[in-house]
Amino acid sequence: MNLLKKSVLVALYSILFLVTALTYIFEMWGPFYGSVTNILYLSSTFLAFASGAYLTSTYGLRNISGKAFLFITLGLLFWFIGEFSWIYYELYLSISPFASLPDIFILTGFPLIAGGFLIYTKKVQIKLNRNKKIFLFVFSSLLAIAIIYILIKFEVKPEMENAEKIVNILRAIGHSWLLISGIIALLIAKEYQGGQLSLPWKIFIIAIIANFAGDIIQGSHPHLYEEEVPLIYISADLLWILAYLLFSTSLFFIAFSVKEAQDKITGK
């Protein structure tokens, strides 16, 4: 039953992604551009948040797992509000959303999601020897510095306004946290090796990388993105949609597995 649910979910999300990709390509040169793609984009964002809420309710809030997923869900909610308000600014207010309130919502999502990953490590009880701890600390620090450096180099340009520069610097810091969360996810997946919860944590890693790649594309060409130059616009948006759907897949997979385990208690 659990496998069936997961297979159906993957099939539905694959269809959704394919339809979204084709809609982007067709709409780019069509008369209804901007309407359907925005709905599809927001749908994937909402699905990520909804799956987080479903998983949090599955665990409940009295335990560390539920608390960790509550943080991740709140982060995804802030991303949804950020994306929604970004589209609202762009389409209905005709104001350039970069850099403005939507960015604040999106930036708020980073520490919440990274915090959720960090809280979850308490549950897993990852035990590392001294050498591994030092290696991970050094590696994570170097990774954070490298990401911040690369993103600032690509995304912070002299011609930008100060607000745009600040947003991109904060986003670089946010991404460094998120990619370190990816390392945490890798450790958790390894710890759960052989169990049903290993795969969702591996999927989290791909989601984080896809989100990062989308940001690099958009952040390095913010004005081309706003002008909706097809190659930049479609590739950045599709990478973000992929990231949201993968986040959602991971969270639903965990929820399905926990639900199945709950059913086994009573022998259902």
Binding site: N63, G66, K123, E191, G194, L197, Q262, I265
Partner: protein
């Protein structure tokens, strides 16, 4: 006292892995059973969810 402490630890492991609802189900379904029976049940259930290594680690302190 020792018995009560062990049960608290068991409940904590159940709740963190199977959620608050999972704990309620355990309490209801295993209310007449002793701790060893609950641990034996968890030893069967948890490896499928979190892998043998992590399940063993979490249950190690209970036995």
């Amino acid at each position: 006292m020792q018995k009560k402490l062990d049960l608290c630890k068991i409940y904590k492991i159940i709740e963190v892995n199977l959620g608050s609802h999972g704990l309620e189900l355990y309490k209801e379904f295993y209310k007449d059973k002793n701790e060893q029976t609950i641990i034996a049940s968890l030893s069967e259930l948890l490896p499928d969810l979190i892998g043998k290594r992590n399940a063993k680690k979490q249950l190690k302190n209970l036995k």
